[in-house]
């Protein structure tokens, strides 16, 4: 996803460790997720030793959903973040009253959305197929934008970040959960051994698709480290940008505010 622009106008994007034509990346990522959609949670379980559910839970707790708030969950896939957001906001509403919260699950991949819809539809929860780089939502329409384990698959990250900023209301918050860089050498070594050896092999055994899993592992390593990504979020206009490492930096939560 780091881009390079050369004089002969060839713009490339990283697809795992490979450089591919800038315009090709979105389609290639779609291929990975079409293939992975039915076993998506399993994939995250493998990459995180099953801990991604705990990380998401910690993110929602920090997000502190309130009655009447509107969430856009980008790369929301199967809808688990939106459901957790609405559950928490509804619990507060039962205690204190207020308007119901609402959420839109937005994902570029229709198969992922359908997998999520099969798990159940509910009131105040909508679904839309979107490209994060040009969101089809009104400016200043959301109290919160979240993206979990999705930003590294976006081709033009700067465009997506400025779109997240645009659709947020003033005072709105952006929460991004993503695999990141372990903060100690020992953990990084262990995680590398696991991810580069075990995961593609398991991808082959479990879903007969080594390449997709190889891509996922490589795309995690290609993603900017915590401080570099925080700088990108600031460049998109967010204020008070903060990083919280989860599980020694295997994942990181980046937060920013639209002032």
């Amino acid at each position: 996803m780091s881009e390079t622009q050369t004089h002969d106008q060839t713009r490339t994007a990283s697809f795992g460790f490979k450089q591919v034509d800038w315009s090709q990346k979105a389609g290639m990522v779609k291929g990975v997720f079409d293939s992975a959609a039915p076993k998506y949670d399993l994939m995250n379980d493998l990459m995180s030793f099953g801990v991604h559910r705990v990380w998401k839970d910690m993110m929602i707790t920090k997000l502190n959903p309130q009655p009447g708030e509107h969430l856009i969950d980008v790369a929301g896939g199967t809808g688990d973040i939106a459901r957790a957001f609405l559950d928490r906001a509804d619990a507060v509403q039962r205690r204190r009253g207020g308007q119901p919260a609402s959420a839109i699950v937005a994902d570029i991949n229709y198969e992922m959305l359908q997998a999520g819809r099969k798990r159940g539809l509910r009131d105040h929860m909508d679904w839309a197929c979107v490209n994060a780089e040009c969101l089809p939502f009104e400016a200043a329409s959301a109290h919160a934008v979240t993206i979990s384990f999705g930003i590294r698959n976006v081709t033009d990250r700067a465009a997506a970040l400025s779109e997240f900023h645009r659709v947020l209301k003033p005072g709105g918050r952006f929460f991004c959960l993503e695999f990141s860089r372990p903060t100690t050498r020992a953990l990084e070594k262990m995680y590398d051994l696991w991810s580069f050896n075990a995961i593609p092999q398991m991808g082959e055994w479990i879903v007969k698709d080594r390449e997709s899993y190889q891509y996922l592992v490589e795309s995690i390593r290609r993603f900017p480290i915590q401080s570099a990504f925080a700088a990108e979020i600031e460049a998109a206009g967010f204020k008070n940008v903060k990083v919280t490492n989860f599980s020694g930096g295997i994942a990181a939560l980046h937060t920013g505010w639209k002032i």
């Binding site: 509107h70 609402s102 839109i104 570029i108 229709y110 959305l113 359908q114 819809r117 539809l121 009131d123 105040h124 909508d126 679904w127 839309a128 197929c129 979107v130 490209n131 040009c134 969101l135 089809p136 939502f137 009104e138 400016a139 329409s141």
Partner: protein, 67 residues
């Protein structure tokens, strides 16, 4: 199970979603064509399809409109 009677038909677009949706190209509001299940962007001359109640807001998946 009479969920279908209390909830909007799964194939129809939620009116609340329509309120916040804009054309990703022009950022204009959209017209909902219920018969064809499309969201029309006059400015971009594109019709975004709705599949099973899910609007597909990708220009490359939209139908180009003639004048």
């Amino acid at each position: 199970m009479n969920e279908t009677t209390t909830k909007p038909a799964a194939k129809d677009l939620d009116p609340k979603l329509l309120e916040v949706l804009v054309c990703p190209v022009t950022r204009e509001t959209l017209d909902y064509d219920r018969a064809s299940q499309e969201l029309i962007s006059r400015g971009a001359k594109l019709a975004y399809p709705i599949r099973e109640g899910v609007p597909i807001m990708l220009p490359e998946e939209a139908r180009e409109l003639e004048d």
